[in-house]
C-alpha cells in the first residue's frame, strides 16, 4: 500500500517539476528577448529605415522590415482567405463526395505539416521558371501557400461545429445550400473563422525560412510588387549574424517587436474565440 502511495507522490513531483521547467523555459525566452531588446529599442528603430553604415552600428532603424512584413502579410492574408474560406465551406457534409472531402482533409494535414523551407524551395523554383526575381509578389505567393492549410483547417473545424439542426431549419424554409451557408453557417462560424485567420497571420508573420529566397531583403520600402522586400524575421536573422555588438543588440530589439506583434495577434485570436462564442448557438 505504501509503495503505491510513494509511486503516486514521486510521479506527481516529476510532473510538477517538468511543468515548472516548461513554463520556466518559455518565460525565460520572453524575458531574455524583452530585457536584451528593451535596451536597444528606441523610436528611431521603429520609424527610420537603415541609413549608410547601419550594419556597422550607425544610425537607422528597421522601418523597412516592419512595413515590409505588413505588406507581405496583407497580401498573403487576402489571397489565402480567398482560397481557404471556400475550401472550408465546400467541405460541409451537405455537398456530395464524402471520400473526396476526406482526401482533401488529409491533403490539408499534409500541407499543414510540410516544412516552410520546402515551400520556400518550391517557390524559388517556380519563380526561376517564371523569370521572377526575389520580390514582394514572390514572398506573398509563398506565404499564401504556407497560410492556406493553417487557415483552412481552423475554418473547417469552426464550420463543422455549426449544429446541423440549425441548418435544417434553414433548409425547411426552402433556402438553398448556398443561402444557408451565407446566412446561417458563416454567421455561426464567424468567431472560429476569425480565429483561424488570425492564427494563420501569427504563423505567417514569424516565418523566415519560406521568404528567405522568395522575398529577398532590402533597405528600402518597396514601391511595386516586383521590388524585393524586407521582413521582420529576416531582419532578426541577418542582424543576429553580424559580428558587431550594436547590431546584435538591434537583432534583439527587432525580435522584441516581432514577439510583441505575434503575442498580441495570438491573444486577440483567443479572446475573440471566447468573446464571440457567447452569442453562438451550441
Amino acid at each position: 500500500m505504501n509503495s503505491r502511495k510513494l509511486e503516486e507522490t514521486l510521479f506527481k513531483i516529476f510532473m510538477m517539476a517538468s511543468l515548472f521547467l516548461v513554463f520556466l523555459a518559455l518565460a525565460g525566452i520572453v524575458l531574455v528577448v524583452a530585457m536584451k531588446g528593451l535596451s536597444a529599442l528606441n523610436l528611431s528603430m521603429i520609424m527610420e529605415t537603415p541609413k549608410g553604415g547601419y550594419y556597422l552600428g550607425k544610425e537607422g532603424g528597421i522601418a523597412n522590415a516592419i512595413i515590409g512584413s505588413l505588406y507581405l502579410m496583407t497580401g498573403a492574408t487576402l489571397l489565402s482567405l480567398m482560397i481557404s474560406l471556400p475550401v472550408a465551406l465546400a467541405l460541409q457534409k451537405e455537398y456530395p463526395g464524402k471520400r473526396f472531402c476526406d482526401l482533401t482533409r488529409l491533403v490539408l494535414d499534409i500541407l499543414w505539416g510540410t516544412p516552410s523551407i520546402v515551400y520556400g524551395a518550391f517557390g524559388f523554383v517556380m519563380m526561376v521558371y517564371l523569370g521572377l526575381r526575389a520580390s514582394l509578389l514572390g514572398g506573398i505567393m509563398v506565404l499564401t501557400l504556407l497560410m492556406i492549410p493553417i487557415m483552412s483547417r481552423a475554418m473547417d473545424e469552426a464550420v463543422r461545429m455549426v449544429p446541423f439542426e440549425l441548418k435544417e431549419m434553414s433548409y425547411a424554409l426552402g433556402a438553398t445550400r448556398f443561402e444557408t451557408t451565407i446566412a446561417v453557417v458563416l454567421r455561426q462560424a464567424l468567431p472560429g473563422i476569425c480565429t483561424g485567420v488570425i492564427l494563420a497571420i501569427g504563423r505567417g508573420i514569424g516565418d523566415a525560412a519560406s521568404i528567405l529566397f522568395t522575398a529577398g531583403y532590402t533597405d528600402d520600402i518597396p514601391t511595386s510588387l516586383l521590388d524585393p522586400v524586407a521582413s521582420l524575421p529576416l531582419a532578426v536573422f541577418f542582424q543576429a549574424g553580424t559580428p558587431v555588438p550594436e547590431v546584435q543588440a538591434r537583432a534583439f530589439a527587432s525580435a522584441l517587436i516581432l514577439l510583441l506583434i505575434v503575442l498580441v495577434i495570438n491573444i486577440i485570436a483567443r479572446l475573440l474565440g471566447w468573446r464571440f462564442s457567447k452569442n453562438i448557438v451550441r
Binding site: 482526401l103 491533403v107 516552410s116
Partner: protein, 310 residues
C-alpha cells in the same frame, strides 16, 4: 391555365437566379478543393522534376549514403546531412517526449478545468513564437551553456553543436506536443477513469493502466506530429547547430541538418551546375518524410475520434 403560368413567371425567374447562384457556389467550391489537391501534387512533381538531373550523375544510393559533399567536383552525398537531421531531431524528441508526457498527464488528470484552460492558453500562445526568436535565445543562452558543459567533461567545443540544436528544438516542439496530447487525453470519457477509481486504483494507477493505454495511439500521433515539425524546422536549428558538413561523432560536434543546408546554400545555387538539383532532392526528402508522418498521424487521430464517438 396559360395566363396563370405567365403570372408566375417572375417567381420562376427568381428561382432560376437562386439555382444559378447555388450552382456557381457548388462549382467554385469544387474548384478550390481540386486546387488544394492539385497543389500537393504540383509541389511534389515540381521537386521531383528538379531532382531527376542529379540522378543522372549520382546514383540514388550514393545520393543518400555517400558522405562526400563536394559540389564543385560533382559529388553530392547527402549522408552527413541526413544523419545530422535524424540526430538533432532524435535528440530533441528524447528530451521533449518525457517532459511532454509528464506535463500532459498533470494538466489533463491532476488539475481542474480552470488551471488547465489557463495553462493551455499560455502554452498555445508560446507555441506561436517564431522560430528565429527561439534561435536567437539559443545563441545567447544555450550555446554558451553547451560550451560550459563541454568544458566540464573535457571536450573542446564551441557550443555550436548537435546538443545545442537538440535543446533548442526540444524547447520549440514541447508546447506543440503538449497542446495536441492534452486534447487527446481529454477525449477519453470520464466514466473510464471512474471505473478504475471504483476498483480502488490511485490516480496514478488509473493513468498508468487505463488512461495511457487507451490514449496510446493518440499520444503516439502527437509525438509523430512533433517529430515532423522538428524534422523540417530550419531557422532555429540553423542558428545554433554549427553547420559543418561532416558526420557528427558526438553530441558536442557540430552538425548540418538538411533544412539548414537548403537555407544556407540557396544564394550560390546558380553558379554551380547541378547544385540546385541536389538541394531540391534534399527538399523532396524532407517533404516525403514529413508527409509520411503527417499521413500516419492523420489516420491515427481520425480512428481515435471514431472509436470514442461511437
Amino acid at each position: 391555365m396559360e395566363s396563370r403560368r405567365r403570372h408566375a413567371f417572375p417567381v420562376n425567374n427568381l428561382l432560376r437566379k437562386r439555382q444559378i447562384k447555388e450552382l456557381l457556389a457548388l462549382v467554385s467550391g469544387r474548384a478550390v478543393l481540386i486546387f488544394i489537391n492539385a497543389l500537393v501534387l504540383f509541389i511534389f512533381c515540381g521537386l521531383l522534376l528538379k531532382t531527376f538531373p542529379i540522378l543522372n550523375v549520382v546514383s540514388f544510393s550514393d545520393l543518400l549514403f555517400s558522405s562526400s559533399w563536394y559540389p564543385m567536383k560533382k559529388e553530392f552525398g547527402l549522408f552527413p546531412f541526413l544523419i545530422s537531421t535524424l540526430a538533432v531531431t532524435g535528440l530533441a524528441m528524447a528530451i521533449a517526449v518525457p517532459v511532454c508526457l509528464l506535463c500532459t498527464i498533470y494538466l489533463s488528470e491532476y488539475t481542474g478545468k480552470r488551471f488547465r484552460e489557463a495553462a493551455r492558453l499560455v502554452i498555445d500562445i508560446l507555441a506561436g513564437i517564431p522560430s528565429v526568436i527561439y534561435g536567437l535565445c539559443g545563441v545567447l543562452v544555450i550555446v554558451p551553456f553547451v560550451a560550459r558543459l563541454g568544458e566540464m567533461v573535457d571536450i573542446s567545443t564551441t557550443g555550436y553543436s548537435l546538443l545545442a540544436g537538440g535543446l533548442v528544438l526540444a524547447v520549440m516542439v514541447i508546447p506543440f506536443i503538449i497542446s495536441i496530447s492534452v486534447d487527446v487525453l481529454r477525449m477519453i470519457p470520464d466514466p473510464v477513469r471512474e471505473s478504475a477509481f471504483a476498483l480502488g486504483a490511485t490516480r496514478w494507477e488509473t493513468v498508468k493502466y487505463v488512461v495511457l493505454k487507451k490514449a496510446r495511439r493518440g499520444l503516439l500521433a502527437a509525438v509523430v506530429l512533433g517529430f515532423a515539425r522538428a524534422f523540417g524546422e530550419t531557422m532555429a536549428v540553423l542558428m545554433v547547430v554549427g553547420n559543418v558538413a561532416q558526420v557528427p561523432s558526438s553530441i558536442f560536434d557540430p552538425a548540418y541538418p538538411l533544412p539548414a543546408l537548403i537555407a544556407n546554400n540557396y544564394g550560390e545555387v546558380m553558379s554551380i551546375p547541378l547544385y540546385d538539383s541536389a538541394l531540391m532532392s534534399a527538399a523532396l526528402i524532407l517533404m516525403l518524410v514529413v508527409a509520411a508522418f503527417s499521413f500516419s498521424a492523420h489516420y491515427a487521430l481520425l480512428r481515435i475520434g471514431e472509436t470514442l464517438d461511437g
